[in-house]
Amino acid sequence: MKRFARRNPTIVIGAILLILVALAAIAAPWVTGDPQLLTPNDRLQSPNANYWLGTDHLGRDVYARTLHGARISLLVGLTVAALSVAIGLFIGLAAGYWRRVDTLVMRFMDGLMSIPAILLAIALVSLNKASVFIVIVAITIPEIPRVVRLVRSVVLTVREMPYIEAAVSGGSRGGKIVIRHILPSTVAPLIVQATYIAASAILIEAGLSFLGAGVPPEIPTWGNMIAQSRLFVARAPWTVFAPGTALALVILAVNLVGDGLRDFLDVRLARRM
């Protein structure tokens, strides 16, 4: 364990940060007050013993809101990563192995890739009622092609390996070859890709909320908090500083884990230490 930490400091630092944020997010309802509670008398207070991170222009507790915001960010990050990997993996395996569906699927993916997540979210939100679910869908759709391309490229490499020919000569059927012989090779790059997708999903969600095209404003998210407080930055910088720092820290942590995993899982990078 100690040796793992010494060899992979980025994974360990990132993971510790993420675990702390996750614990804070889970514990938020018990360790903080009501994030929605308006206390007009205590507006724009700087951090003090009552309000650890101060209050915003409506007198809401910034500490409570920041911790609650972590729940939305982590939820969006995890769900988008899981959904896009699950869907993309399935499509990518099929496109890579069965060449007949490949051209059609890949052109469709190129089309999906050209849709900006923000515009799609604005369109979806204007068609439906804004909700966390809509935001997740809007971010997931443009992420799928990135997974598909990754999986497909792995499949295209692996399917030409002699051990696949050997498996065919052993009488295995196509589906079995894909699942048993090719799928395992996609796991390492997918884990890495999933972390990057999670990081970018959290950022996009914050961006959407900031623009007012994301999570409804009554739900405390980091993007909403920054958006609502931006007029008061000069008087009460803590209202923007707290969610902004939290956002930067989480993205940093996810990317640290992703970079660390990439190096850790890459067999070509020999263990030099």
Partner: protein
Amino acid sequence: MEEPVLDVRDLRTHFFTQDGVTRAVDGLSFTIAPGETLGIVGESGCGKSVTALSILRLLPAGLGRTVGGSITFGGRDLLTLDEAEMRRIRGDRIAMVFQEPMTSLNPVLTVGEQIAEAVMIHQSKSKSEAWARAAEMLTLVRIPDAARRVHDYPHQFSGGMRQRVMIAIALSCHPQLLIADEPTTALDVTIQAQILKLMLELKGRIGAAILLITHDLGVVAETCQRVIVMYAGRKVEEAPVEELFDRPLHPYTRGLMGSIPRHRPGIAPSRRLQEIPGIVPNLRAPVAGCAFAPRCPQATPRCAAEAPPLRRDATGHEVSCWEASP
């Protein structure tokens, strides 16, 4: 004569490329008797491996196609079977060992999983039975401590051991025919001998016939009962192994044997190593006469004009040459 395991008649496999049609195998016929070891020798590109892939119908899709002939196995023509029937034969009745033991095993699966997979596909066995079988097969190919090593990954085995694992997979369903495509080429010489010995021994135990594809006449001499010499997609000579080495008839066979370095201890090499002049003909252009004529020291005008038929003598020695008679 006993019913052959495999009866290949007039096999023609062509590759359709942008530059034209390559006749990789052009009218090849041979049979293998049960329990027999038949060798196919020839230089690179003479159609040896394509013959093996044609039998298992594993030619690269859209590129290579068997355009004529028949491959009779177990009373049925393999070329007429549908894909599902073919899958039931592959790995079960006909198994294959490939040249590259380093890359023919999936690096992300344990060797036990890979042996058990073949067993589970073809024999309705439970997972635990298949794993027991995997350990048994590993013991059979002399991997020490097999019960523990079934859980190891291919990178934990040496090249020779991986080829043993490949043999274990190939023989796990007791096939009637084992096709070995250059099984020892990637191994060093001492390991080659071990692997060949092991294959022959297990063949006897399981009762399989072997089709051994190689470019190494030494391997053929040690292991085969009968040999086919291929050149440019055709059979130029076929004989029982001793007959072939005692009395090679085709100039190409003689050329191959002349190009083997011989080492006699204590005696300095007395002569320059013989080579066969020229290169293999372009298989895209149709050959009118004997394909070997341009490189042949004994070629006559007739050789270039007319293809020599295969002629056979009483001992079963066949040769396709105008100048040599069986």
